[in-house]
Symmetry: C2
């Protein structure tokens, strides 16, 4: 008598689109734009290409909003276009490496929102590098089955050797309200991507951020999991895929980041496991014990940051100066740290005076994996840390012209939700943010003391 139902992933997010940030007609427009822009930047900078990203928003009759984002990235192979744009939980970023994308959901949410407000497909135009053809597809999502539906496939000769992707959506939303947020999002993105040329056009305004640097930060590499982040399911799968005869020590030293034969031996002795045992003989209870001991062992090498790509202090200061135009700016890139086996790096910058507007609290600009976060400041770990600081200790008296910029990059930023707006207060991350912020605050204090002394000298 009880009626049970199975929902496909697309059906689930169709019904619960607000948990992915599509909570109202204003926020949905903002989210659609950002999902496309984040994909465009990933598709360029992660492949050694200096990004050229064009964003166009048009207002049509009857409240329709046309959103178009084009990039000069790696493009999407024709065979993959349907799933990439039309199947929830499909993507190429499910590996251990810092990227803006992480869920395999973003562009599908934008396609879904357009489809449920206008019924219109997303229009894709794409070519991979050196492809002799450019492909144009219209894609709809069969929501109940989480499958792509292709319309109007066209193949054109790629005479100019173009490569990249152009994504065009037609949706209904509140562009009037969303515009300011979208402009701010683009402005802040440009602040930390000086190697990208970003142009934005809409009926009311137009912004152009020309590339001010041709130096692309080195792309991060894919890494292996760190032993501190294991769980029983992960071990069970890894062991299942091992060949017969593999020893426990060999298993550990081949599957995990920073574990060599010697470390594997030492761990086994500490944990009370025989390093030469056949790893496939471990039973479930042994895997549980192994996981717990791997999490607890203090002798692992720290996660290596080869999977990360921090902005660096120079880039951060330059971005802060160009956008906020302060009288004083400083930045700190903390050494690599980790939580639950995930490496992360925290970067903090402070801007003071000049054109920074005075306020009762410091103005906070938050970034994570190079994405500007504009919503949910109230539950973000960066806000929590900024509130902890007693600024009078650093000679700053409120109201003050003070801005704080935070950037967290990780193979897994602890986002609180799939809408990627706030970062959870993981203790290790909180601690790193505080250390970075206090270091910047000390430098500000030295600067303000110096100013004070200069003022006194003048008076004599």
């Amino acid at each position: 008598r009880e009626r049970y139902e199975q929902l496909s992933p697309s059906e689930f997010f169709y019904r619960n689109r607000e948990v992915a940030g599509f909570s109202n007609p204003t926020r949905a427009v903002y989210q659609a734009v950002r999902e496309l822009v984040e994909n465009a930047l990933d598709a360029t900078e992660m492949y050694g290409l200096l990004p050229d990203v064009k964003i166009e928003v048009g207002e049509e009759a009857d409240g329709r909003v046309r959103i178009c984002v084009e990039d000069n990235g790696v493009g999407v192979s024709a065979l993959e276009v349907p799933n990439v744009f039309g199947r929830v939980f499909y993507g190429s970023k499910y590996v251990l490496r810092q990227a803006r994308g992480v869920f395999g959901l973003g562009v599908k949410m934008a396609v879904l929102y357009a489809q449920l407000t206008t019924g219109q497909p997303v229009r894709i135009r794409t070519a991979t590098r050196k492809s002799p053809f450019i492909y144009e597809f219209d894609v709809l999502i069969d929501v109940e089955r989480n499958l792509p539906v292709i319309r109007n496939l066209r193949v054109l000769r790629n005479v100019d050797g173009w490569h990249g992707t152009r994504v065009e959506l037609l949706l209904r939303g509140n562009w009037q309200q969303a515009r300011r947020r979208v402009e701010e999002y683009i402005r802040r993105t440009a602040m930390i991507t000086p190697y990208a040329t970003i142009t934005f056009r809409c009926p009311q305004s137009s912004l152009t951020f020309e590339r001010s640097s041709s130096k692309l930060p080195p792309a991060p590499a894919v890494g292996k999991p760190h032993p501190k982040g294991v769980d029983v399911e992960m071990l069970r799968r890894m062991v299942e895929r091992c060949r017969r005869g593999a020893t426990l020590a060999k298993f550990l030293s081949t599957h995990f980041d920073g574990v060599g034969p010697i470390t594997a031996q030492k761990f086994c002795e500490w944990a009370g496991f025989d390093p030469n045992m056949e790893v496939k003989e471990l039973r479930v209870e042994d895997l549980e014990e192994l996981a717990a001991k791997m999490q607890a062992y203090g002798g692992w090498r720290r996660p290596r940051p080869i999977t990360l790509s921090p902005l660096g202090e120079e880039l951060l200061i330059r971005g802060v100066k160009s956008v906020l135009k302060p009288e004083f700016a400083t930045a700190v890139t903390r050494p690599p740290s980790s939580y639950a086996g995930h490496p992360f790096i925290v970067e903090v910058a402070i801007a003071y005076g000049g054109e920074v507007p005075p306020a009762e609290e410091p103005i906070l600009y938050r970034f994570a994996n190079r994405i500007p976060l504009l919503y949910d400041e109230g539950v973000d770990v960066a806000k929590k840390v900024v509130r902890k600081i007693d600024w009078s200790v650093y000679k700053v008296k409120m109201p003050a012209p003070l801005a704080v910029v935070t950037h967290i990059c990780s193979t897994k930023v602890p986002f609180k939700g799939v809408g990627k707006e706030a970062v959870a207060d993981v203790p290790e991350v909180e601690r790193e943010l505080e250390m970075g912020l206090r270091e910047c605050a000390r430098r500000l204090r030295r600067h303000l003391s110096r100013l004070e002394r200069m003022m006194e000298v003048k008076r004599w």
Copy 2:
């Protein structure tokens, strides 16, 4: 060269378990308990059964935590047990009716967390009403394929005519830290379910809340969607399932809440559609226009609250008095309202003096669909509303012994995330909360004025 991957829903939540509230070993224990308790209460009160819920937490050797929740509810049919406990996005609450459950994900997250920390299956014991048998299953989740795996199925004779469900998990987590939160969660649940008998046992403590009322609130009924909440995908599916020959007016009056033949006619005239047209002849662009006009039309009847089950002022005051022991308490149940076609009712209570501890800000107890919300107060709409109020206007001077209780019930509570901890600030909900809170505050002011006058009389 680019490697793409498809994740199953269980694989997605295995990798991103923090977005479902399983963000650390303390929070995970709390979340596992609450997912089981919310299912137990739904399985009883929504079927006219006075709930008896037993919660037991045990600490085993090596940091294992055993969580066991048993109810006297409707049970789960043997054929459904595997999917119900072992398949993400499977459930019976995907209908338009107020319930604690909404995502078809909760118990699977708890099963998943146990499985990834200990490798152990969830142990289920269940019998439906009048079932001659009791079924015992051990269920694991094949995470990569989102399929249940059954171990140890046992069938026993149901000699005592028992009905209900017992769910037992073995996981690793921080019970020491989680205990206080779990106790508070149970205490607040008991505050608003006086018709339930809830017992809680753990190594350190034991709580018993005996039923103080045998009057079960009427269960809500399943409703039809309201025209204000339509979208193009919804219309497209409804039209597809219509039989040939159905007119637009007939379509509207049969598929939507509160739309009769006359209202359907009036709407069609206003919207410029022919009420007698064959609804299956609408093309995608017509559906888009129809959806937009249905959202915009001001002549619909308000959503009927048959799908809702508010607590009521009497129950709310009694619960507040028994738990907070104030000197003064009052409650308001606002009239039904709606947002995006979803009916909702806001209820607010204030408790003052007595054993309410004085504080700089009112202590806020938030509830949604009868679930206590303990985390993420910083982004919850109820907190936003409480902060807006200037309490001095109501003769309350901080610090003050003031507590505020809010309850939002809806066919779709606008939760910010699948972990169900904070409610988004939807304007209609925010407005109702403010109206309810100010009404309670005015009553408090009258009470405080009366006290003032009594004090003055005494001085004479």
